[in-house]
């Protein structure tokens, strides 16, 4: 059976996109395979690991669980779109200086979950930070330096 194609319009990392896509692919496949943005990772495909986290209208979602046609008329932000041109997002900076990156496979998803939190709550408590990243697994860091990095932004600490 030939796969149906569907035309979708959406904003991706600040740019308007309009294109034909297979109707049965996931948002993760759209991002990685159709648009070639490989910063978003695939760790499980079943909504357990959080490596594929992106922002859909500002909310963190597991891109592996969302059907791509759902993005029609909406805005998607991936790791490639969180900093400004030539400048790191403060979270990226904080992850660097606080040693929050080890293998780096969870990092993009982790950063987007953290960004979603800080966008709506600029002074989260440690518990709120933990809540916000509780859907993102990291096998390397034990989370300590990740939470520290996010907390450093909250308190406006510059390093």
């Amino acid at each position: 059976m030939p796969v149906q194609k569907i035309r979708v319009r959406f904003r991706m990392n600040g740019q308007e996109h309009e294109q034909e896509i297979p109707s049965n692919i996931t948002l993760l496949e759209l991002i990685r395979d159709e648009l070639g943005l490989t910063g978003t990772k695939e760790g499980c495909e079943i909504g357990e690991c959080g490596a594929c986290t992106v922002l859909l209208d500002g909310k963190p979602v597991y891109a592996c669980l969302i059907l791509a046609p759902k993005v029609d008329g909406r805005e998607v932000i991936t790791i490639e779109g969180i900093g400004e041109e030539g400048k790191l997002h403060p979270l990226q900076e904080a992850f660097l200086t606080h040693g929050a990156v080890q293998c780096g496979f969870c990092t993009p998803g982790m950063l987007l979950s953290a960004k979603a939190l800080l966008d709506k709550n600029s002074h989260p408590s440690r518990e709120e930070i933990e809540e916000a990243i509780s859907g993102n697994l990291c096998r390397c860091t034990g989370y300590l330096q990740i939470v520290n990095a996010i907390e450093a932004i909250r308190s406006g600490e510059k390093e």
């Binding site: 695939e42 690991c49 990226q92 660097l96 040693g99 496979f105 990243i133």
Partner: protein, 750 residues
């Protein structure tokens, strides 16, 4: 060159590879795209033990998009791999030995087509009786491998154990069990292979040891080593599992025939099904103690289930045996440690190589003895702990860098200064200690590393190392060692790592060996280069080399610090005379083979030591355990990058918490991340890291290692805390809800 140099040994600088990772630009194997890329899928056995009578691929070959199907018949070289013993076929030939054994490969234009082709391959089997228990395997007449079901036995004998028990006032005997654990690195195994510009079969994969991969590819394809190139892709964690070849030989085989780029990315389910696990061990401990608290004798029997293939089973059995006593002086020791084949998924290396398992046993024994003696658990450990001059069970005298007591003291002090955890009504609380020692590098065998340092004609420094950074931070640590030795800044160091065409062999990223062993190789290479530079400068300046020093990228006078010339100038002049500035470094830790009968010898050149204390809170009605905090002291010799060390400690505590309470891989039942839970941010305790630096004279700048030690004391500490909270001990890891509830009921009924 910059004037203020940053990144010397001892500084917490950001990792050298982290910028690309926060930008989402780091390319993992699954992110690599190539013109005309083909896709591979693997057909795997659905039987635990069966003879293969026939593999029929005709139908699959006719499927749309299929380029070719491969079976064992296509392998031109040797169809056996394995890091220590060669028992693992690339593709199953006579038999399959576990559910998940690879049988055939399909290559097609899309992943889906390859998947569909796999579904059309027919395998005719003749089932054989499967064995799932290592004790049964040793009795059974059914052979999983021709040479028998016993993979390996390591014995250690010291003193006279019966005499030791006779002189003991208290003797206790217990049996401890652990479960299979899945590494669950976040990046599923993946690789891409192609023919490079020089016509080499090139495999770029997620791996912990590109030079070993190279060797296996060369052997399986019967090629000359120069015809193959192996590159380590950015690797999303490994924890031991990516020491085995996974996708590498499959991809190389396809490219050998097709001469086109091919990619293979495991799904999480495939990574669970087909890759190594942590060995479950059955550990019988008999320990005797004098009434004053001194350990007198230990008789230990360890039996492990290595599953279908050897992988690192021999190393795990050996390391478990050497470390079985724990970090304590015991005059009389008898250890028997064995590994048996079964038809389970194969078990291999996992962070700690058997030591996390034996630490659970020896630390439980210590607490039971302390209780019997009415001694404080810190006191009994301090009394028996290794110190300078102590002799281990293998007869090695520990001469330097023995920070065990310091770790115990620092943890105790920290703990005394902190507020006691008070129980909320309805909950039970407990505190427990875990201590450990860990030999750096492989056990009693050669395990060298080499490195190369170079200055080009413009004075730019390049470090070449085969050491795979899988997230643990070796690229940063090795760069810092080079920066310190060379007297230049970290930003002036270009690092080329993990590419057999460019870098010398550094051995595996395993056994916590890269900082100590590759660190020494890097230091030597850089030191040699520095010497050449000073010799050159001495020639131009006409000043004896011993009066020159190098600092901040400048050649200075030793006497008054006067700047005499720059690195750029020296290199420019050398190169103008046709002289290259390039130096090699090599290090192999001084060890000896263990005596085959008595196990006596010097298995490691140096050891790391650690102690954790855990506070837990238990809900006796649900069995839920909350690990509130862990104080973790680690003697690392010297923290090359303290922030990295803290990262490793927090990492180890998290993985140790999973090992203690949550993680159990049940073959046949655990299929995906849905059935296998690893700690989330909410499951990990507050971690209070303490870095102890008792310098190791043979280490680079005094450094040892911390990667694996970080994990080892956590589970023992948690289990000892649980025993205190419940008044009942758990002897089987993980201490899952059910096991905790059962213990609560036992306590309630007694």
């Amino acid at each position: 060159m910059t004037m203020v140099v940053k990144g010397k040994v001892g500084e917490s600088i950001p990792r050298v590879d982290a910028l690309d990772k926060v930008l989402g630009k780091a390319r993992f194997a699954a992110d690599l795209k190539m013109e005309g890329l083909l896709y591979m899928k693997v057909l795997r056995s659905d039987r635990p033990h069966a003879r293969i009578k026939d593999i029929r691929t005709e139908k699959a070959e006719q499927m749309p998009g299929v380029v070719r199907i491969f079976t064992h018949k296509d392998i031109p070289g040797k169809n056996r791999t394995g890091i220590i013993n060669k028992d693992h076929p690339v593709l199953a030939d006579e038999k399959v030995r576990f559910i998940g054994d690879a049988i055939a490969l399909a290559v097609a234009h899309t992943e889906k087509q390859a998947e569909q082709a796999i579904g059309e391959i027919r395998v005719e089997y003749e089932d054989l009786p499967p064995i799932f228990d290592p004790q049964e395997a040793l009795r059974s007449a059914t052979l999983i491998h021709e040479k028998g079901n016993l993979l390996y036995e390591r014995d250690i004998t010291k003193g006279d154990v019966e005499q030791g028990f006779a002189e003991s006032d208290i003797v206790i005997q217990r049996t401890y069990l652990t479960s299979m654990v899945e590494h669950t690195y976040l990046e599923p195994d993946a690789g891409v292979a192609w023919i490079d510009d020089e016509g080499r079969i090139t495999v770029c994969a997620s791996t912990q040891n590109p030079h070993y991969d190279h060797h296996e590819i060369v052997t399986s394809l019967a090629l000359d080593p120069s015809q193959v190139r192996s590159i380590q892709a950015t690797t999303g964690g490994g924890f031991g599992s990516k020491l085995d070849v996974t996708v590498q030989c499959f991809l190389a085989l396809a490219v050998y025939y097709l001469r086109r780029p091919v990619r293979l990315v495991y799904t999480r389910e495939e990574a669970y099904l087909a890759t190594a696990k942590r060995h479950p061990l059955i550990m019988k401990y008999r320990t005797g103690v004098h009434r004053d608290g001194r350990l007198m004798a230990m008789d230990i029997d360890i039996l492990g289930d290595t599953g279908a293939y050897g992988s690192y089973g021999i190393a795990v059995a050996g390391r478990a045996a050497v470390h079985a006593t724990g970090p304590y002086r015991v005059p009389n020791v008898l250890v028997r440690s064995r590994m048996a084949y079964t038809n389970h998924p194969f078990c291999g290396a996992m962070r700690g190589f058997g030591v996390p398992q034996v630490a659970f046993a020896h630390e439980s024994q210590m607490d039971i003895l302390a209780e019997e003696l009415g001694m404080d658990p810190f006191e009994i450990r301090l009394l028996n702990a290794f110190d300078r001059g102590s002799e281990t069970a293998t007869g090695q005298i520990l001469k330097e860098s023995v920070g065990m007591r310091e770790c115990l003291r620092r943890v105790r002090k920290q703990r005394d200064e902190m507020q006691k955890v008070s129980a909320i009504p309805g909950k039970l609380v407990g505190m427990g200690i875990g201590a450990m020692w860990y030999g750096i590098g492989n056990t009693g065998v050669k395990n060298p590393s080499s490195a190369c340092a170079e200055l080009d004609h413009e004075g730019r420094f390049t470090l070449y190392t085969g050491a795979a950074d899988i997230g643990q931070g070796s690229s940063t640590v090795l760069s810092q060692i080079a920066a310190s030795e060379m007297g230049i800044g970290i930003e002036d160091i270009r690092l080329i790592r993990g590419d057999t065409a460019l870098t010398p062999d550094a051995g595996a990223t395993s056994a916590s060996r890269q900082t100590y062993i590759s660190g020494n190789a890097v230091r030597e290479a850089t030191g040699n280069l520095r010497k050449s530079v000073l010799a050159e400068a001495s020639r131009f300046l006409e000043i004896p080399p011993q009066e020159l020093t190098m600092e901040d990228g400048l050649v200075k006078s030793m006497k008054d610090g006067e700047i005499l010339t720059t690195l750029e100038e020296v290199t420019a002049r050398s190169y103008s005379e046709g002289k290259q500035l390039r130096a090699e470094g090599f290090f192999d830790p001084p060890t000896t083979n263990l005596n085959p009968e008595t196990g006596q010898g010097i298995p490691y050149a140096t050891y790391a030591f650690a102690c954790h204390v855990a506070d837990v809170q238990v809900d006796p009605n649900t069995g839920e355990v909350d690990v509130l905090r862990v104080v973790a002291a680690h003697d690392v010799g010297k923290a090359v990058n303290p922030s990295n060390v803290v990262g490793q400690i927090a990492s180890g505590v998290a993985m140790g918490t999973g090992f203690a309470l949550m993680e159990e891989f049940v073959p046949g039942q655990t299929r995906s991340m849905r059935q296998y839970l690893i700690p989330t941010v909410k499951d990990v305790p507050v971690v209070i890291p303490i870095i102890v630096e008792d310098p190791e004279p043979t280490g680079p700048f005094g450094a040892k290692g911390v990667g694996e030690p970080a994990l080892i004391p956590t589970a023992p500490a948690i289990l000892n805390a649980l025993a205190q909270a419940l008044g009942e001990r758990i002897y089987h890891l993980p201490a899952s809800l059910e096991r905790v509830l059962k213990a609560c009921r036992r306590e309630g009924s007694s």
